[in-house]
Protein backbone atom coordinates (compact mmCIF):
# COMPACT_ATOMS: atom_id res chain seq x y z
CA UNK A 1 0.00 0.00 0.00
CA UNK A 2 1.29 3.45 -0.94
CA UNK A 3 -0.94 5.93 0.86
CA UNK A 4 0.67 8.99 -0.71
CA UNK A 5 -0.44 7.81 -4.17
CA UNK A 6 -4.04 8.46 -3.08
CA UNK A 7 -3.35 12.19 -2.99
CA UNK A 8 -1.55 12.61 -6.28
CA UNK A 9 -4.84 13.56 -8.03
CA UNK A 10 -5.25 16.37 -5.45
CA UNK A 11 -1.83 18.01 -5.72
CA UNK A 12 -0.72 20.37 -8.48
CA UNK A 13 2.69 18.72 -8.95
CA UNK A 14 2.71 15.06 -7.96
CA UNK A 15 6.41 14.65 -8.68
CA UNK A 16 7.43 17.59 -6.48
CA UNK A 17 5.03 16.38 -3.77
CA UNK A 18 6.58 12.93 -3.84
CA UNK A 19 10.15 14.24 -3.85
CA UNK A 20 9.49 16.60 -0.91
CA UNK A 21 7.95 13.78 1.14
CA UNK A 22 11.17 11.82 0.76
CA UNK A 23 13.52 14.61 1.94
CA UNK A 24 14.32 14.89 5.65
CA UNK A 25 13.08 18.02 7.43
CA UNK A 26 15.39 20.65 8.87
CA UNK A 27 15.35 21.16 12.63
CA UNK A 28 13.40 24.29 13.60
CA UNK A 29 12.97 26.13 16.90
CA UNK A 30 10.34 28.66 17.90
CA UNK A 31 11.32 31.54 20.16
CA UNK A 32 9.31 31.50 23.40
CA UNK A 33 8.07 35.06 23.88
CA UNK A 34 7.44 34.51 27.60
CA UNK A 35 11.19 34.35 28.20
CA UNK A 36 13.05 35.76 25.21
CA UNK A 37 12.98 37.78 21.99
CA UNK A 38 14.16 36.62 18.55
CA UNK A 39 17.06 39.11 18.83
CA UNK A 40 18.31 37.73 22.11
CA UNK A 41 18.10 34.14 20.89
CA UNK A 42 19.94 35.11 17.70
CA UNK A 43 22.70 36.77 19.76
CA UNK A 44 23.05 33.69 21.98
CA UNK A 45 23.20 31.31 19.00
CA UNK A 46 25.76 33.55 17.26
CA UNK A 47 27.96 33.70 20.37
CA UNK A 48 27.85 29.90 20.66
CA UNK A 49 28.61 29.34 16.97
CA UNK A 50 25.22 27.70 16.35
CA UNK A 51 24.24 27.92 12.67
CA UNK A 52 20.70 29.19 12.08
CA UNK A 53 18.54 31.21 9.69
CA UNK A 54 15.11 32.83 10.10
CA UNK A 55 12.33 31.10 8.14
CA UNK A 56 11.19 34.34 6.50
CA UNK A 57 7.44 34.24 7.13
CA UNK A 58 7.66 34.23 10.95
CA UNK A 59 10.12 36.31 13.04
CA UNK A 60 10.23 33.79 15.86
CA UNK A 61 11.14 30.63 13.91
CA UNK A 62 14.76 29.66 13.16
CA UNK A 63 15.93 26.79 10.98
CA UNK A 64 19.03 25.25 12.53
CA UNK A 65 22.10 23.90 10.76
CA UNK A 66 22.15 20.12 10.30
CA UNK A 67 24.80 19.53 12.97
CA UNK A 68 22.90 21.31 15.75
CA UNK A 69 21.04 19.45 18.47
CA UNK A 70 18.78 22.21 19.84
CA UNK A 71 18.36 20.53 23.24
CA UNK A 72 22.05 21.02 23.94
CA UNK A 73 22.18 24.81 23.78
CA UNK A 74 21.84 27.52 26.43
CA UNK A 75 18.72 28.99 24.79
CA UNK A 76 17.01 25.61 25.22
CA UNK A 77 18.17 25.30 28.85
CA UNK A 78 16.69 28.73 29.58
CA UNK A 79 13.38 27.87 27.92
CA UNK A 80 13.95 30.57 25.31
CA UNK A 81 13.25 28.15 22.45
CA UNK A 82 11.05 25.14 21.74
CA UNK A 83 11.79 22.59 19.02
CA UNK A 84 8.72 22.72 16.77
CA UNK A 85 8.08 21.75 13.18
CA UNK A 86 7.77 24.94 11.13
CA UNK A 87 4.30 24.32 9.74
CA UNK A 88 2.89 23.35 13.13
CA UNK A 89 3.39 26.97 14.23
CA UNK A 90 0.52 27.93 11.90
CA UNK A 91 -2.70 27.02 13.81
CA UNK A 92 -1.95 28.92 17.06
CA UNK A 93 -1.38 32.06 14.98
CA UNK A 94 -4.65 31.48 13.15
CA UNK A 95 -6.44 31.13 16.50
CA UNK A 96 -4.73 34.38 17.62
CA UNK A 97 -5.69 34.36 21.32
CA UNK A 98 -5.34 37.56 23.36
CA UNK A 99 -4.02 38.02 26.91
CA UNK A 100 -6.76 37.45 29.47
CA UNK A 101 -8.95 35.19 27.31
CA UNK A 102 -10.19 31.68 28.13
CA UNK A 103 -8.62 29.25 25.68
CA UNK A 104 -8.99 25.47 25.26
CA UNK A 105 -6.35 23.13 23.85
CA UNK A 106 -8.18 19.76 24.02
CA UNK A 107 -5.43 17.56 22.49
CA UNK A 108 -2.46 19.37 23.97
CA UNK A 109 0.44 16.98 24.61
CA UNK A 110 3.38 17.22 24.26
CA UNK A 111 2.84 20.96 24.26
CA UNK A 112 4.39 22.75 21.28
CA UNK A 113 1.12 24.49 20.46
CA UNK A 114 0.14 24.92 24.12
CA UNK A 115 3.34 26.80 24.91
CA UNK A 116 2.89 28.87 21.74
CA UNK A 117 -0.68 29.76 22.80
CA UNK A 118 0.54 30.72 26.29
CA UNK A 119 3.13 33.03 24.73
CA UNK A 120 0.54 34.62 22.44
CA UNK A 121 -1.55 35.23 25.59
CA UNK A 122 1.46 36.79 27.39
CA UNK A 123 0.87 34.06 30.01
CA UNK A 124 -2.34 35.86 31.10
CA UNK A 125 -5.86 34.43 31.11
CA UNK A 126 -6.84 30.77 31.38
CA UNK A 127 -5.35 28.16 29.06
CA UNK A 128 -6.79 24.68 29.55
CA UNK A 129 -4.44 22.02 28.19
CA UNK A 130 -6.12 18.64 28.07
CA UNK A 131 -4.89 15.26 26.91
CA UNK A 132 -6.26 11.77 27.34
CA UNK A 133 -2.78 10.26 27.73
CA UNK A 134 -1.31 10.73 31.20
CA UNK A 135 2.23 9.84 30.11
CA UNK A 136 2.20 12.46 27.37
CA UNK A 137 0.79 14.98 29.85
CA UNK A 138 3.90 14.65 31.94
CA UNK A 139 5.96 15.68 28.89
CA UNK A 140 3.59 18.61 28.39
CA UNK A 141 4.02 19.71 31.99
CA UNK A 142 7.78 19.70 31.85
CA UNK A 143 7.78 21.53 28.50
CA UNK A 144 5.38 24.17 29.81
CA UNK A 145 7.41 24.66 33.00
CA UNK A 146 10.65 25.02 31.08
CA UNK A 147 8.94 27.69 28.97
CA UNK A 148 7.87 29.53 32.13
CA UNK A 149 4.14 29.07 31.45
CA UNK A 150 1.97 29.76 34.51
CA UNK A 151 -1.50 30.30 32.99
CA UNK A 152 -2.10 26.65 32.05
CA UNK A 153 -4.53 24.29 33.79
CA UNK A 154 -3.63 20.71 32.84
CA UNK A 155 -6.51 18.24 32.55
CA UNK A 156 -6.59 14.52 31.82
CA UNK A 157 -9.96 13.71 30.26
CA UNK A 158 -11.39 12.40 27.01
CA UNK A 159 -11.69 15.52 24.82
CA UNK A 160 -14.95 14.17 23.33
CA UNK A 161 -16.59 14.60 26.73
CA UNK A 162 -14.70 17.57 28.17
CA UNK A 163 -16.56 19.16 31.08
CA UNK A 164 -16.62 22.88 31.88
CA UNK A 165 -17.31 22.12 35.52
CA UNK A 166 -13.68 22.39 36.74
CA UNK A 167 -13.50 25.78 34.98
CA UNK A 168 -16.38 27.56 36.70
CA UNK A 169 -18.84 26.29 34.08
CA UNK A 170 -17.96 29.16 31.75
CA UNK A 171 -17.42 28.62 27.99
CA UNK A 172 -14.16 29.36 26.21
CA UNK A 173 -13.40 32.31 23.93
CA UNK A 174 -11.26 30.17 21.64
CA UNK A 175 -10.25 26.54 21.07
CA UNK A 176 -7.37 25.02 19.16
CA UNK A 177 -8.46 21.56 18.03
CA UNK A 178 -5.25 19.93 16.84
CA UNK A 179 -6.52 16.37 16.76
CA UNK A 180 -4.72 13.03 16.78
CA UNK A 181 -4.51 11.94 13.14
CA UNK A 182 -2.89 9.46 10.77
CA UNK A 183 0.09 11.87 10.57
CA UNK A 184 0.74 11.37 6.85
CA UNK A 185 2.12 14.90 6.69
CA UNK A 186 4.89 14.07 9.18
CA UNK A 187 6.42 11.47 6.85
CA UNK A 188 9.52 13.66 6.40
CA UNK A 189 10.16 13.57 10.15
CA UNK A 190 8.96 10.00 10.78
CA UNK A 191 9.39 7.83 7.69
CA UNK A 192 7.52 5.12 9.64
CA UNK A 193 4.36 7.26 9.73
CA UNK A 194 2.97 5.50 6.68
CA UNK A 195 3.95 1.94 7.53
CA UNK A 196 0.95 1.30 9.73
CA UNK A 197 -1.42 3.22 7.46
CA UNK A 198 -4.79 1.67 6.72
CA UNK A 199 -8.06 3.07 5.45
CA UNK A 200 -9.90 1.55 8.39
CA UNK A 201 -7.62 3.45 10.79
CA UNK A 202 -8.27 6.68 8.89
CA UNK A 203 -12.02 6.11 9.02
CA UNK A 204 -11.94 5.14 12.69
CA UNK A 205 -9.92 8.14 13.79
CA UNK A 206 -12.15 10.44 11.72
CA UNK A 207 -15.03 9.58 14.05
CA UNK A 208 -12.94 10.57 17.06
CA UNK A 209 -11.86 13.81 15.36
CA UNK A 210 -15.43 14.74 14.57
CA UNK A 211 -16.52 14.15 18.18
CA UNK A 212 -13.61 16.21 19.57
CA UNK A 213 -14.30 19.12 17.21
CA UNK A 214 -18.03 18.99 17.98
CA UNK A 215 -17.34 19.13 21.72
CA UNK A 216 -14.95 22.06 21.27
CA UNK A 217 -17.65 23.96 19.36
CA UNK A 218 -20.14 23.21 22.15
CA UNK A 219 -17.91 24.59 24.90
CA UNK A 220 -16.94 27.76 22.98
CA UNK A 221 -19.04 30.89 23.50
CA UNK A 222 -21.26 32.32 20.73
CA UNK A 223 -19.04 34.45 18.51
CA UNK A 224 -15.95 32.57 19.66
CA UNK A 225 -13.34 30.99 17.40
CA UNK A 226 -12.37 27.35 16.89
CA UNK A 227 -9.38 26.32 14.78
CA UNK A 228 -9.20 22.74 13.50
CA UNK A 229 -5.88 21.31 12.35
CA UNK A 230 -4.23 18.02 11.43
CA UNK A 231 -0.89 16.97 10.03
CA UNK A 232 -2.45 14.68 7.47
CA UNK A 233 -3.65 14.80 3.86
CA UNK A 234 -6.64 12.43 4.05
CA UNK A 235 -9.88 14.33 3.26
CA UNK A 236 -11.69 11.82 5.50
CA UNK A 237 -9.85 13.40 8.47
CA UNK A 238 -10.05 16.97 7.22
CA UNK A 239 -12.84 18.31 5.00
CA UNK A 240 -15.20 15.42 5.83
CA UNK A 241 -14.86 16.17 9.56
CA UNK A 242 -15.63 19.85 8.98
CA UNK A 243 -18.55 18.97 6.70
CA UNK A 244 -20.08 16.79 9.43
CA UNK A 245 -19.67 19.35 12.22
CA UNK A 246 -20.95 22.41 10.31
CA UNK A 247 -24.00 20.34 9.28
CA UNK A 248 -25.18 19.64 12.83
CA UNK A 249 -23.63 22.40 14.97
CA UNK A 250 -24.16 26.15 15.03
CA UNK A 251 -20.85 27.20 13.49
CA UNK A 252 -19.43 28.20 10.12
CA UNK A 253 -16.11 28.16 8.31
CA UNK A 254 -14.53 31.59 7.88
CA UNK A 255 -11.76 32.97 5.66
CA UNK A 256 -8.29 33.60 7.10
CA UNK A 257 -4.77 34.33 5.90
CA UNK A 258 -1.59 32.33 6.29
CA UNK A 259 1.80 33.51 5.12
CA UNK A 260 2.75 30.10 3.68
CA UNK A 261 1.84 28.88 0.20
CA UNK A 262 -1.26 26.66 0.32
CA UNK A 263 -4.32 25.49 -1.64
CA UNK A 264 -8.01 25.51 -0.61
CA UNK A 265 -9.81 22.55 0.93
CA UNK A 266 -11.32 20.01 -1.46
CA UNK A 267 -15.08 19.69 -1.93
CA UNK A 268 -15.13 16.23 -3.54
CA UNK A 269 -13.33 13.06 -2.62
CA UNK A 270 -13.84 9.40 -3.27
CA UNK A 271 -17.44 9.84 -4.42
CA UNK A 272 -18.36 12.16 -1.51
CA UNK A 273 -19.30 15.84 -1.83
CA UNK A 274 -18.68 18.27 1.01
CA UNK A 275 -20.21 21.61 1.97
CA UNK A 276 -18.74 24.21 -0.41
CA UNK A 277 -17.52 26.28 2.57
CA UNK A 278 -14.77 23.71 3.27
CA UNK A 279 -12.85 25.50 0.50
CA UNK A 280 -12.09 28.10 3.19
CA UNK A 281 -9.83 25.55 4.88
CA UNK A 282 -6.20 25.42 3.78
CA UNK A 283 -4.04 22.51 2.66
CA UNK A 284 -0.29 22.96 2.95
CA UNK A 285 1.67 20.35 1.03
CA UNK A 286 5.35 19.57 1.76
CA UNK A 287 6.54 20.82 -1.63
CA UNK A 288 4.82 24.21 -1.24
CA UNK A 289 7.19 25.65 1.38
CA UNK A 290 9.60 22.76 2.04
CA UNK A 291 7.84 21.89 5.33
CA UNK A 292 5.75 19.01 6.65
CA UNK A 293 2.18 18.63 5.39
CA UNK A 294 -0.66 20.37 7.21
CA UNK A 295 -4.37 21.15 7.19
CA UNK A 296 -5.98 24.09 8.96
CA UNK A 297 -9.51 25.53 9.17
CA UNK A 298 -11.04 28.40 11.14
CA UNK A 299 -14.62 28.29 12.44
CA UNK A 300 -16.80 30.90 14.06
CA UNK A 301 -19.33 29.67 16.59
CA UNK A 302 -22.89 30.93 15.95
CA UNK A 303 -23.74 34.21 17.69
Amino acid sequence: MDPLARYEPLVDDAEAFRAACERPLPSVVRVNGIKATPDRVARAFEAAGVGFEPVGWHDGLFRLADDVSPGNTWPFVHGWVYGQEEVSAVPARVLDPAPGERVLDPCAAPGSKTTQLAALMDDEGLLVANDSNLGRLSALRSNAERCGVTNVAVANTDARHLSLKPFDGEPFDRALVDVPCSCEGTVRKNPDALEEWSLSHVEGIAGVQRAILARAVEVTRPGGTVVYSTCTFAPEENEAVLDGVVADHDCRLVEFDVELEHVPGVTEWDGERYDPSVRRAKRIYPHHNDTGGFFCAKLEVGA
Partner: protein, 169 residues
Amino acid sequence: MTRRENDGQVLDRLPATADERVVEGRATRREVVGWWVDRFGLEPATFDGHTFWEKGAGKVWAFAADVGSPADVEALGMTFLRTRQEHWKPTTDAVQRFGRGATRNVVVLDDADARAFLRGETTDPDWDGDWGYLAVAHEIAGDVEPVGVGLYLHGELRSQMPKGRRREL
Protein backbone atom coordinates in the same frame (compact mmCIF):
# COMPACT_ATOMS: atom_id res chain seq x y z
CA MET B 1 -16.99 18.84 54.46
CA THR B 2 -13.85 20.85 55.13
CA ARG B 3 -10.65 18.84 55.24
CA ARG B 4 -8.26 19.78 58.01
CA GLU B 5 -5.41 17.63 56.76
CA ASN B 6 -3.47 18.02 53.54
CA ASP B 7 -4.53 15.61 50.77
CA GLY B 8 -1.46 15.18 48.58
CA GLN B 9 -3.51 14.28 45.49
CA VAL B 10 -5.60 17.44 45.44
CA LEU B 11 -4.87 21.03 44.42
CA ASP B 12 -6.14 23.40 47.14
CA ARG B 13 -5.82 27.17 47.00
CA LEU B 14 -3.59 28.57 49.73
CA PRO B 15 -5.32 30.65 52.39
CA ALA B 16 -4.61 34.38 52.10
CA THR B 17 -3.36 34.68 55.67
CA ALA B 18 -2.88 32.57 58.79
CA ASP B 19 -6.31 33.70 60.10
CA GLU B 20 -7.95 31.87 57.18
CA ARG B 21 -5.89 28.71 57.46
CA VAL B 22 -7.89 25.50 57.87
CA VAL B 23 -5.46 22.78 56.78
CA GLU B 24 -2.73 22.28 59.32
CA GLY B 25 0.78 23.34 58.37
CA ARG B 26 -0.27 24.86 55.06
CA ALA B 27 1.69 27.90 53.90
CA THR B 28 -0.32 31.07 53.28
CA ARG B 29 -0.29 33.31 50.24
CA ARG B 30 1.17 36.11 52.35
CA GLU B 31 4.04 33.87 53.53
CA VAL B 32 4.78 32.54 50.05
CA VAL B 33 4.90 35.96 48.40
CA GLY B 34 6.78 37.32 51.42
CA TRP B 35 9.39 34.58 51.08
CA TRP B 36 10.16 35.51 47.46
CA VAL B 37 10.19 39.22 48.26
CA ASP B 38 12.51 38.77 51.26
CA ARG B 39 14.79 36.22 49.70
CA PHE B 40 15.25 37.75 46.25
CA GLY B 41 14.15 41.37 46.67
CA LEU B 42 11.33 41.02 44.14
CA GLU B 43 8.57 43.63 43.91
CA PRO B 44 5.55 42.30 45.85
CA ALA B 45 3.39 43.23 42.83
CA THR B 46 5.22 40.56 40.79
CA PHE B 47 2.65 38.00 41.94
CA ASP B 48 -0.53 40.11 41.96
CA GLY B 49 -1.93 38.15 39.01
CA HIS B 50 -1.14 34.72 40.48
CA THR B 51 -3.03 32.35 42.75
CA PHE B 52 -1.14 29.77 44.82
CA TRP B 53 -2.03 26.14 45.39
CA GLU B 54 -0.76 23.15 47.34
CA LYS B 55 -0.66 19.61 45.93
CA GLY B 56 1.69 17.05 47.36
CA ALA B 57 3.36 17.50 50.72
CA GLY B 58 4.27 21.16 50.77
CA LYS B 59 4.58 21.58 47.01
CA VAL B 60 3.25 25.04 46.12
CA TRP B 61 2.12 25.90 42.56
CA ALA B 62 1.82 29.38 40.99
CA PHE B 63 -1.10 29.84 38.59
CA ALA B 64 -1.80 32.98 36.54
CA ALA B 65 -5.57 32.47 36.67
CA ASP B 66 -8.10 31.13 39.18
CA VAL B 67 -10.53 28.22 39.34
CA GLY B 68 -12.68 26.73 42.09
CA SER B 69 -10.83 25.07 45.00
CA PRO B 70 -10.18 22.17 45.28
CA ALA B 71 -9.31 22.14 41.56
CA ASP B 72 -10.38 19.06 39.60
CA VAL B 73 -7.34 19.05 37.29
CA GLU B 74 -3.86 17.52 37.18
CA ALA B 75 -1.84 20.71 37.46
CA LEU B 76 -2.20 24.49 37.70
CA GLY B 77 0.60 26.68 36.37
CA MET B 78 4.08 25.69 37.55
CA THR B 79 5.57 24.17 40.67
CA PHE B 80 6.97 27.16 42.51
CA LEU B 81 8.17 26.53 46.04
CA ARG B 82 8.69 23.60 48.40
CA THR B 83 7.26 24.35 51.86
CA ARG B 84 6.57 22.22 54.98
CA GLN B 85 10.32 22.03 55.67
CA GLU B 86 12.62 24.24 57.71
CA HIS B 87 14.20 25.95 54.71
CA TRP B 88 11.80 26.61 51.88
CA LYS B 89 13.19 25.78 48.47
CA PRO B 90 12.30 27.47 45.17
CA THR B 91 12.00 25.35 42.02
CA THR B 92 14.34 25.62 39.04
CA ASP B 93 11.44 26.67 36.80
CA ALA B 94 10.29 29.40 39.19
CA VAL B 95 13.81 30.82 39.51
CA GLN B 96 14.16 30.80 35.72
CA ARG B 97 10.82 32.56 35.31
CA PHE B 98 10.82 35.03 38.22
CA GLY B 99 14.52 35.23 39.12
CA ARG B 100 15.26 37.93 36.56
CA GLY B 101 13.68 40.48 38.88
CA ALA B 102 15.88 39.37 41.78
CA THR B 103 18.08 42.00 43.40
CA ARG B 104 19.71 39.86 46.10
CA ASN B 105 20.86 36.29 46.71
CA VAL B 106 21.78 35.94 43.04
CA VAL B 107 25.20 34.47 42.33
CA VAL B 108 26.51 35.08 38.80
CA LEU B 109 28.85 32.35 37.62
CA ASP B 110 31.53 32.60 34.95
CA ASP B 111 31.18 30.50 31.83
CA ALA B 112 33.08 27.44 33.08
CA ASP B 113 31.27 27.38 36.44
CA ALA B 114 27.88 27.88 34.76
CA ARG B 115 28.53 24.79 32.65
CA ALA B 116 29.62 22.81 35.69
CA PHE B 117 26.51 23.96 37.57
CA LEU B 118 24.35 22.82 34.64
CA ARG B 119 26.05 19.40 34.81
CA GLY B 120 24.94 19.19 38.44
CA GLU B 121 28.40 19.76 39.94
CA THR B 122 29.48 21.67 43.04
CA THR B 123 31.44 24.86 42.35
CA ASP B 124 33.39 27.35 44.44
CA PRO B 125 32.43 30.86 43.32
CA ASP B 126 33.35 34.11 45.13
CA TRP B 127 30.37 34.70 47.39
CA ASP B 128 30.23 36.48 50.72
CA GLY B 129 26.46 36.78 51.00
CA ASP B 130 23.86 34.59 52.70
CA TRP B 131 24.05 30.82 52.89
CA GLY B 132 21.05 28.74 51.80
CA TYR B 133 19.20 28.61 48.50
CA LEU B 134 20.45 31.09 45.90
CA ALA B 135 19.39 31.96 42.37
CA VAL B 136 22.27 30.91 40.13
CA ALA B 137 22.75 32.94 36.96
CA HIS B 138 25.22 33.62 34.17
CA GLU B 139 25.75 36.25 31.49
CA ILE B 140 24.32 35.47 28.08
CA ALA B 141 23.49 37.66 25.08
CA GLY B 142 24.18 40.90 26.91
CA ASP B 143 22.36 40.29 30.17
CA VAL B 144 22.26 38.13 33.29
CA GLU B 145 19.90 35.14 33.07
CA PRO B 146 18.99 32.73 35.89
CA VAL B 147 19.81 29.05 35.29
CA GLY B 148 18.54 27.39 38.45
CA VAL B 149 18.86 26.93 42.20
CA GLY B 150 22.08 26.42 44.15
CA LEU B 151 22.53 25.55 47.82
CA TYR B 152 25.37 27.61 49.26
CA LEU B 153 26.82 25.92 52.36
CA HIS B 154 30.28 25.68 53.92
CA GLY B 155 31.87 27.82 51.24
CA GLU B 156 30.64 25.83 48.24
CA LEU B 157 27.72 26.03 45.84
CA ARG B 158 25.86 22.76 45.36
CA SER B 159 23.90 22.57 42.12
CA GLN B 160 20.23 21.68 42.56
CA MET B 161 19.58 21.20 38.85
CA PRO B 162 17.06 18.33 38.53
CA LYS B 163 18.56 15.28 36.83
CA GLY B 164 16.36 15.66 33.75
CA ARG B 165 17.50 19.28 33.27
CA ARG B 166 21.24 18.65 33.53
CA ARG B 167 23.22 19.08 30.32
CA GLU B 168 26.77 18.82 29.08
CA LEU B 169 27.18 21.92 26.89
